[in-house]
């Protein structure tokens, strides 16, 4: 039903200062001038749910169409399912999803190995392009990685530990 003066005749002054041009959403939004009727539109044909699709708990159902790429699976899938128990308003929704993404990276590497594929990290990171266009930066980056890695290995292997200070006095035997 349209928002006409007749409809609001019982309210003195209704709409006397209304100015359709005073709308910060114009022209982004085509004002329908209809009552808010919620989920009332003629929904498109519903896509069959052939794989597991998680949906926000801020809506009652799946959308009419949805992506079917990569249903949740493995440990990352378990984390994602847990995250979807919480609304988009909560960190408990988003932070576990980011953690699941990182877990998923490890799962991806393991999956590559299981399929007999050794990921070519150098190529996947596009370093050949960096070698071509910004060799100095790449060398500096690799040197940094080498230094940090070496330091970490030395530290973990115990070689970086301080040697016991020698004492002048011989221990009593």
């Amino acid at each position: 039903m349209e928002n006409t003066p007749e409809k609001f005749a019982h309210i003195k002054g209704w709409g006397i200062d209304a100015d359709p041009k005073n709308d910060p959403t114009y022209p982004m939004k085509n004002r329908l001038n209809l009552e808010q009727t919620g989920y009332s539109w003629d929904r498109p044909t519903l896509q069959a749910e052939t794989v597991e699709v998680l949906h926000s708990n801020e809506r009652p159902n799946l959308t009419a169409v949805f992506g079917t790429a990569l249903p949740p699976s493995g440990l990352s899938g378990m984390i994602r399912r847990w995250a979807f128990n919480y609304s988009e308003n909560e960190y408990r929704h988003w932070l576990p999803l980011i953690i699941a993404d990182r877990v998923n990276v490890v799962e991806g590497v393991l999956d590559d190995f299981m399929h007999g594929k050794i990921p070519n990290i150098f190529s996947e990171k596009g370093y050949p392009a960096e070698w071509k266009h910004s060799r100095g930066t790449l060398i500096a980056k690799m040197a940094g990685v080498a230094i940090v890695s070496t330091a970490a290995i030395l530290l973990l292997s115990g070689k970086g530990k301080k040697k016991k200070r020698k004492t002048w006095l011989k221990p009593i035997e």
Partner: protein, 384 residues
């Protein structure tokens, strides 16, 4: 078919993947002839968008040929060359009917705060994208638009996102004749926003970035003033105040989003530690450099959690903030006209044409701003 395959932060490769299938009567399958890497793909590439699953194919800017259609598709047919808006919209829901095609309520079950976007994580619907040889296109009666006769495919592919987003950035600025418009970010969107600001009657357009080659390009292409925030100024906000008679700009456009540089605290908390939904440096500067009562238009993309911005200044300065993903479908008729009439020449933004098979190099070149890259286009083998 060949398709881009995300393996983790800053790791992508090309792989053989199964052909997409019709999943819904309004679906179409498109053979991709051009796709682009977008600045917002870098948020995914860097691992900053929640629910970006390993194995996803990115790509929301693409054109191609319809090769298969579902039983309810009537508006396009097999053999049509189409450009596909980056947002997936049903055309029937409350929001689509209002022209908010970027906010469709019938295409993304996974989040209500964002519409569905091709190849943009499960947070944006879990669809594979167009950085592939073939892609599933839902709601083919609504989104795909037949490329007009005579339009260059390089122009067409930039009408799927870059041109509408840049145009809407200016439109949301509510630019009045003579207004001073500042655009943060001289990437493709920022350059286009600066260009389109003139169409709304801006009196002065200023673009700010940290890369000289992009600023030089913007200066020529968008015919605007261009300044480097690293070398031309100490404090961008103070600089803008000084060059606007100490008033601030009438309109400021944030065309950067979550990957912004320029503030160590924002970079560390937003990009490195992910304690915020990206670095909000550009938005922070926008709020502080717009004049009192001014308008801040946001098209830079941020994540779904929180950002540190001076919201108190928004109140005290009486600002209007306008933001949205571009409603491509709504804007296309006007923008196609502009392109055909030569008012906007999108293809000039394209600096790199990269074979799809070399996608990892493409991402590195674009993300590290190598080889003076502005906009890379990926060409699948069948389109070469």
């Amino acid at each position: 078919m060949l398709a881009m395959n995300y393996r983790g932060p800053k790791r992508v490769r090309i792989d053989e993947k199964p052909m997409p299938e019709i999943r819904h009567p309004e679906d179409a399958i498109v053979r991709v002839t051009r796709s682009c890497i977008c600045g917002s793909d870098l948020h995914l590439y860097n691992g900053n968008v929640p629910d970006t699953r390993v194995g996803t194919t990115f790509g929301h800017e693409f054109i191609g040929e319809i090769v298969e259609v579902g039983s309810e598709v009537t508006k396009v047919k097999i053999g049509d060359m189409v450009l596909v808006p980056f947002n997936i919209s049903c055309g029937k829901c409350h929001f689509c009917r209002q022209g908010l095609f970027g906010n469709c309520h019938e295409s993304n079950p996974e989040a209500t705060a964002v519409g569905a976007i091709y190849g943009y994580s499960h947070t944006a619907g879990g669809y594979n994208g167009g950085q592939a040889e073939y892609v599933r296109v839902p709601y083919a009666n609504v989104g795909p638009t037949v490329i007009p006769e005579g339009m260059d495919p390089d122009d067409a592919v930039l009408l799927t996102d870059v041109v509408p987003t840049g145009y809407q950035a200016a439109e949301m600025g509510g630019i009045q004749k003579g207004d001073t418009v500042v655009v943060f970010g001289a990437g493709p969107i920022g350059i286009m926003a600066a260009k389109c600001s003139w169409l709304f009657g801006a009196g002065r357009v200023i673009i700010i970035d940290q890369y000289d080659y992009r600023l030089e390009f913007a200066k020529n292409y968008s015919q605007c003033e261009a300044y480097n925030f690293k070398t031309d100024m100490d404090d961008p906000v103070l600089f803008i105040k000084k060059i606007t008679d100490w008033m601030g700009a009438d309109v400021v456009i944030d065309a950067v989003g979550a990957e912004a540089a320029g503030d160590a605290m924002q970079t560390i908390t937003g990009r490195k530690l992910l304690l915020q939904a990206g670095s909000a440096t550009a938005l922070h500067w926008a709020i502080n450099s717009v004049k009192k009562g001014g308008i801040v238009s946001i098209v830079g993309v941020y994540g779904p959690t929180d950002n540190l911005v001076p919201i108190g200044n928004v109140l005290n300065k009486g600002l209007t903030i306008r933001a949205n993903q571009a409603s491509v479908k709504r804007l296309l008729p006007r923008l196609i006209e502009h392109v055909l009439n030569g008012v906007i020449e999108p293809k000039k933004l394209i600096t790199h044409r990269i074979p799809l098979e070399e996608i990892a190099d493409g991402y590195r070149i674009f993300s590290a701003k190598l080889d003076n890259c502005i906009k890379p286009v990926l060409i699948p083998p069948s389109a070469r």
